[in-house]
Symmetry: C2
Subunit: 391 residues, 2 copies
């Protein structure tokens, strides 16, 4: 691993698009967690792009929420209650809540891709596809939380902790059906190919989640970096790619452009996952809402950790020893030592360089289908938004 | 309850179609379990109809299995392995198995409905829809087994007991996606409406399973007969109705005929569930493969039990007392007393009369869309096949 540290240690994971060399720093967050909102940025250009992304996300919510909500309201009572809770539109007792359904990154990508390739008419046509993608994303969250026994999501107790495992599984099943129904009843000529593509993506997401669950059961030394990258592409990249591809399909794009948009979303998704994993170790708890080193305490086989473990360095051996022992609650010094071992073994630099590389590939894919910078702007702003570093 | 006992005690649940008055008796089995196969029947006409149904089921397997198998083979390795195990085409270790994927009642209904309304061309066109329905059915089995903690299915350990809960959930998710993909990529003009209808059906199945899980947690006295009937319609009737409706759609039928076929399948599905519940109490273990009274030992709120409990009779009070106490393993005499209480409270007669009534309604619905007896024959033979009494 030492060799690519030297190659890449100066590189930044920020979007390397024309005329914006240099680092960009700002708030980084989970692509889902929390609300879209302006936060002070250190770099004026980043602030401008952040504002563009925030405006896109807000407009997406305005376009998507009424259709999304109508779809959820169409469910039978038992399923509706769980779905509205999961999306943050109801409390557990069924009373209305303010709503905190995440940042709507995926539907925003659908609409931005449709706009980039089909203008405002493309965007209008693609609203149902945007809703379908958001429904699929949330179906997988409901099921993943059951499998991973995760107790909280978007700062609230997960649906299975409130309604039980059976109901969380059933509500997820119903959301998948709703998603594909959105497309099935859409008379747009792209709806059939879009549904086939979204269904393929669901299968890929399932395979990715299987690998994730399986890898967490294996010893750290048995997991290769290629496996973790493939898992991240299936679990995170696939749906971001599918979102962009669906937008392109609804804009009437040809097969090559659809593939290019899929590639853009996949690479941007991998960049996001790499940065998210960096934040899971070194993120500022005040900005991330998670305790620092939470992923290390959970002995998670995140990308920087597996990169570090497979570096063949002395620090890798130290890290392997640390990861062999379960975390002792409250052992802050142990977390600091583990984070330092990952860093010394090159895991942090590798992840940041790899993220920059993935963003460069994403931009390259995008330029194949959307050469005009002004048309590509929305997609780039969104990609930048989800991959900004916490510094 | 006493009043409808007098009204209906002479009626038989057999199909009351033209020219075949009188009772039919024969083997009754789970609509899914086991293989289709000829068993000796007591009545020559029933034997003839049974043979027609068996021939239809065999032809269905011939038409559907290659497409079904190709769909499963298209899955990524991890998901494919679980799916092929669940369908009985592989052992747990991945070696080939002879296959025991159930009787294919639902795909047979799709093809029989398409034939009834569109002839042989209709049948050929509807093969993909038949595969989609079978995939949806099996996705719900995978998930229901997880929720109900059922350890065996089709005489083999359930997928979750072999591969774990997470993988069984994921394989179910993937099968739902495959089902809707089958329709999404089908150029037939009915594929869009069929996909929308199948997705709606999935939502109804989810709501039905929710009610089932919920009811099993409640005290027997808190569950009404209407609730159990509504649950059975959602859990069993909906997919049989959807299967028939999809066949009709692929035959190019109009909205009224599609609705009539849906009604036929729903009512036949309810008749099946009623008879299945009767067998769960009084069935001959040599023919059903289940111990007699298994549903009573599990204190299941099946249709005859809830009908008996809500009869207002002395026997109902005795049954309520018996159901209040958990079953003591090996207490055969207790099971006999419980079965007798259900019978004396009118539960058995009600269920058989209600089944006959539902079959009559099914036949009436069918005759709206398919008046010619020779065209309706396949659907009637299948309905008869799944609802034959064990005597």
């Amino acid at each position: 691993m030492a060799e690519f540290m030297t190659e890449t240690e100066q590189r930044s994971p920020a979007v390397p698009h024309p005329g914006t060399a240099g680092e960009r720093r700002g708030r980084t967050g989970d692509a889902d967690a929390g609300q879209a909102g302006g936060h002070p940025e250190r770099h004026p250009e980043a602030r401008l792009e952040g504002q563009e992304a925030v405006a896109l996300l807000e407009r997406t919510r305005t376009l998507v929420d009424p259709e999304l909500r109508a779809a959820l309201e169409s469910l039978p009572g038992s399923m509706r209650r769980i779905a509205l809770y999961h999306f943050g539109w109801q409390h557990a007792d069924g009373t209305p809540a303010r709503g905190n359904a995440g940042k709507a990154i995926r539907p925003a990508l659908v609409l931005a891709a449709a706009t980039a390739l089909g203008g405002p008419a493309g965007r209008t046509a693609a609203v149902r596809a945007a809703v379908a993608v958001e429904l699929v994303h949330n179906f997988t969250l409901l099921h993943d939380d059951v499998m991973d026994r995760d107790a909280s999501r978007r700062h609230r107790p997960t649906a299975w902790t409130v309604f039980g495992t059976a109901d969380a599984i059933l509500a997820g099943d119903a959301l998948q059906a709703l998603a594909l129904r959105m497309l099935a009843e859409d008379p747009h000529p792209a709806s059939g190919p879009a549904a086939a593509r979204l269904a393929d993506c669901v299968v890929e997401l399932c395979a990715g989640q299987h690998t994730d669950v399986d890898m967490e059961r294996r010893a750290p030394g048995e997991v290769t970096l290629d496996e973790v990258l493939a898992m991240a592409e299936a679990k995170t990249g696939a749906l971001l790619g599918c979102a962009c591809a669906l937008g392109a399909l609804y804009a009437g794009a040809d097969g090559e452009d659809v593939a290019a948009l899929d590639g853009f979303g996949r690479q941007a998704g991998l960049a996001f996952q790499l940065i998210d994993d960096v934040i899971g170790i070194w993120g500022d708890p005040r900005r991330t809402g998670k305790p620092a080193g939470a992923d290390l305490a959970a002995r998670k086989k995140s990308l920087p950790v597996v990169a570090a473990l497979s570096s063949g360095t002395e620090a890798a051996a130290e890290l392997a020893e640390l990861y062999d022992e379960p975390y002792v609650s409250g052992d802050a010094e142990g977390i600091v030592r583990t984070a330092l071992a990952v860093e010394r073994a090159g895991g942090r630099d590798w992840a940041q360089a790899e993220a920059a590389d993935r963003m460069a590939r994403a931009v390259q894919e995008l330029s194949r289908a959307v050469p005009a910078p002004e048309a590509a702007g929305g997609l780039l702003a969104l990609a930048e938004f989800v991959t900004r570093r916490s510094g």
